[in-house]
Symmetry: C2
Subunit: 353 residues, 2 copies
Amino acid sequence: MDERLPQPVLIVGTGLLGTSLGLALRRRHVEVLLSDVVPEHVRTATGLGAGHPHDGEAVGLVVVAVPPDHVGPEVARALAETDAVVTDVGSVKTAPLRLLDGTAGIERYVGGHPMAGSERSGPLAASAALFDGRPWAVTPHARSSAAATEAVQELARTAGASVVRLSPEEHDEAVARTSHLPHLLSVLVAGRLADAPTDHLALSGQGVRDVTRVAGGDPALWQQIVTGNSAAVAGLLTQVRDQLDVLIDAVTTGDRGTLGEILERGVAGTQAIPGKHGGPSRPTASVFVSVPDHPGELARLFADAGASGVNIEDVHIDHDPARETGLVELVVDETRSDHLHDSLESRGWETHR
Amino acid sequence: MDERLPQPVLIVGTGLLGTSLGLALRRRHVEVLLSDVVPEHVRTATGLGAGHPHDGEAVGLVVVAVPPDHVGPEVARALAETDAVVTDVGSVKTAPLRLLDGTAGIERYVGGHPMAGSERSGPLAASAALFDGRPWAVTPHARSSAAATEAVQELARTAGASVVRLSPEEHDEAVARTSHLPHLLSVLVAGRLADAPTDHLALSGQGVRDVTRVAGGDPALWQQIVTGNSAAVAGLLTQVRDQLDVLIDAVTTGDRGTLGEILERGVAGTQAIPGKHGGPSRPTASVFVSVPDHPGELARLFADAGASGVNIEDVHIDHDPARETGLVELVVDETRSDHLHDSLESRGWETHR
């Protein structure tokens, strides 16, 4: 437990994020108090061991963990009712700040946004490990005090996350690009599947599944996120529409040069995403393995892969619509793929690259 | 070896698909002959055991496995030079057919398209297992003979794939929707990352990685695929542009009702994709596990998961930029997730849902 973290920590809102944060902090023996507009939620979170019900005690740090629409008002209330440092865990940062303009004590507020979540919601889905190793954006504004900023950074670190410090404006532009735009384009692709003939969808491969996976997220939540970051999102959507116009024209007229430029730019974009552990992306290669679709077979595969001494960077399982065999893609350091391939073949696995 | 498969099979083009097909057929003791404009490629494929060099012998079935641009002319040549059944493995089906209109022997041609591939190319990337369990579209046209259609279906089955029969027009609409559109939209999202500030990309989570993964595919190949299916692709891109206009308007004006409808339609689309083994999608749930990033740890996890008796439907490994800990998502049947969670916890894994 670190003295830089003001205590007790009051968590306002005991949904998935609030309860998980309580659990993560309790793991480090931080004193945690909980409140929620629904008393039953506090009882559930308390029962899970996320902290104790708040009963008006003075607190050192308030974490507002409520749905995006309610972040601004709840932060204002916390600033008015306490003299604590106040942060939040909302997905957008400039909209609540606009609402807080001129609020007394604004120097005690520093926004935050852990890059963690789940398709599920509510305290029962919570976990002490939710933030482990995840980026946690900490977004001081122009008037945030250095002490408040340090306290919020310490909160993120204590929860197991790694701090990424950005201004509120930078944060909102960053998530518009890395989260909100991908989500909305995924939704548009998925929307085109909704009315497709069933036998056409039989040709669905791993590509379309990857592209549309996030489109399954909760519409009510995403409605709030997108409208809360409307300027940055609309700006990027407009850029995409301009590119889409160029693309449609290139496809229609058979302009291969323009089409090639757009495709090359996409390749460059995939290479711009940072690799694991913050380093530059290392070249990886895939080894594909046919695996019978029964419990224990994956265990056997990973045991054999582990025996090869090669670290698995990523795994994909291909959902094949017709066979009782799965195709497992093991992504490894390019320089190690031959060794993994040979090692698995020698153990009787049907592999290819 | 089945008598419905005319032999020998001549494979024209010994790249990834052609060589893999040779290997898959040889596994079933089918007589396979190989040709390629580059003699060196034939020698490589022959060396791998994919078949023998073609030396003018009469053949029963010709498989054209050349880049999309060359499919039509190569099919025409095979129809003219042999009296064999002719098929191909190209990604688009109507464009080559238009080129073949009026060709003598056209009743012997039936298109095909295995839904298998790789980011890699060339005979050295080939594998006998490439088609195992994958859909293989077989696309007879109006004048295809029943015998030719049956022969091509048998080819797909012998290679290990499962046949999905569609007309050429249906096929091209289907892949425009399930492959070409997702690819191009993924490219547009990735393109927006190419010029983003590096510290913004530090917030990249699994979502954007999933959405943009396919955008890393070979631009030269995708150029040919997209221009070969330009009408269907342009039609869908135009539908997406119309939806994008509505979306931009909804985001800009804060029209939550319209935004909600678009998001709900995306959810419906993700649910329309068929589940594994062709059945309806079963509800799944995810169990998240923190795993140290060392060789052998994944093996230990999958051994413990296997011991629980729960079948893993899918796996995702979250790339966290800062920590030496990975977060592994195990996707399992919803009714089995509690058991898996408890079983892993009891074995000392830090898990959450």
